[in-house]
């Protein structure tokens, strides 16, 4: 479904991605783990078109989307929960959710979906009329994920969704990811620091170091891998 070939991305004159190849098949959950500053966020931003790559190719459903603007890519069903949450600070929780459904026109269904995410995260329901900017860190994270769900993504990119969440919620987030993957056949590309959970949730995993993919395998294998265990699982 998503295919990345020899992707290279720069920030000014700093090269953040040094030719990476990634493949995500339809219906899969694929995770990307790696140390801080490895280039995970950059990879996601390149895919979404926010930071256009300098060379390489990105194919979505076989269509070349390299260099396209985000507003051309997003309507193809590719939605991202970005790093730092990027909640619209002056919009209320409800309005933020509404914004997630910007491209949708099925108002009735949108309403039902809002109720659905409120069920998933009751605290958001309690805070529905509060401005996004004043939410606590974790509440914002839940809102960011919910907002992405509102778009009914075909492929969902998640950048460290568990960051700043209470343990009980972390577990819940991964359950949700699994659920939408199974029930709605949403393809998921997951960037995580919590490698343990990520590898347990995903089907396939990539390991990234300083702008390069250093390992690619099924999650079972990666979990067993010595290097991975040492570097990312803290064992």
């Amino acid at each position: 479904m998503l295919k990345i070939e020899k992707l290279e991305t720069y920030y000014g004159n700093i090269q953040a991605l040094k030719g990476i190849d990634i493949e995500v098949s339809e219906g899969e959950i694929v995770t990307l783990i790696g140390a801080n500053g490895a280039g995970k966020t950059t990879t996601l931003m390149s895919i979404s078109g926010v930071v256009p790559p300098r060379s390489g190719k990105i194919l979505l459903n076989g269509e070349d989307i390299t260099g396209k603007a985000p507003d051309e890519i997003v309507p193809m069903g590719l939605i991202q929960v970005p790093e730092g949450r990027r909640i619209f600070p002056d919009l209320t929780v409800s309005e933020n959710l509404d914004m997630g459904a910007f491209l949708r026109k099925d108002d009735a269904q949108i309403k039902r979906d809002v109720e659905y995410v409120f069920e998933l995260f009751p605290i958001l329901s309690e805070r529905r009329n509060q401005r996004g900017g004043t939410l606590s860190g974790g509440e914002q994270q839940m809102l960011a994920i919910s907002r992405a769900l509102m778009a009914k993504p075909r492929i969902l990119l998640l950048d460290e969704p568990s960051l700043g969440l209470a343990p009980i919620i972390v577990q819940q987030i991964f359950d949700i990811v699994k659920k939408i993957n199974e029930e709605q056949k949403t393809t998921v590309f997951l960037v995580e620091q919590n490698a343990n959970l990520a590898l347990k949730t995903a089907h396939k995993g990539y390991v990234m170091e300083t702008g390069r993919i250093t390992m690619a395998d099924t999650c079972e294998n990666l979990l067993k891998n010595d290097e991975v265990q040492k570097a990312y699982l803290g064992m």
């Binding site: 801080n36 605290i123 939410l135 860190g137 700043g164 209470a166 343990p167 803290g234």
Partner: protein, 263 residues
Amino acid sequence: MAPILDVKKLRMDFGGLRAVNDVDLYINEGEIVALIGPNGAGKTTFFNCITGVTKPTAGDVMITPPSSGKTERINGLKPNTITERGLARTFQNIRLFQNMTVLENVMIGRHPRMKAGVLGAILRDPRTKAEEKQVIEDSYEILKKLNLEMFVNELAKNLPYGAQRRLEIARAMATEPFLLLLDEPAAGMNPQETRELDDTIVRIRDTEGITILLIEHDMSLVMSLSERIYVVDYGKLIATGVPEDIKSNPEVIKAYLGEEINA
């Protein structure tokens, strides 16, 4: 001796929302204490009240700096005054001076402990010169303590995330606090880095004698570090105690942990 931080019936209202609800909390010198609780429980707000970023609606925040032993009420003071008194903090969303170097970030932390004024800056008298020289050396020492010396001349924004978190701690330490407040220091770190952070915090307490209060969602870190834990939910204190008790407290499990942890 009186606790170095003694918070009594602290309350913070935002409109109709009571984010902190009559919380009592104290810390003795040399302790490492954790404040945990579900998202939106009011932990960061609690920090903000103590450090003067927001003015609490009610309650008292008393400090007793070990150096002077004098107890003082600090609510309502400006953040910079509180920092001068000896409380320093880090932020949940990293707030480094992005376009300054690592060294400069720490030098800013030295600000309240320096004296040079406008005249000193212009005339550059020997005292100012000596002070400027000293501040660089001091800052470098602090960086070494947090294993940041290899980044010394990097711009803060170019640092990896984990290093940025450590730099926040270094910068806060530069203000020579007796109490350091850390808001989710391990967020965004991988397990390996978290373990290093664990060591660092213990080292800060042991060698610098800085008392520590931290907010954290990473239970492995919380359980291994802290001597006592406070748990808040909906702004209210729901439990306090040593890690062993908290781990198995059913209310905490229900509200926060989700399952019993065996870290």
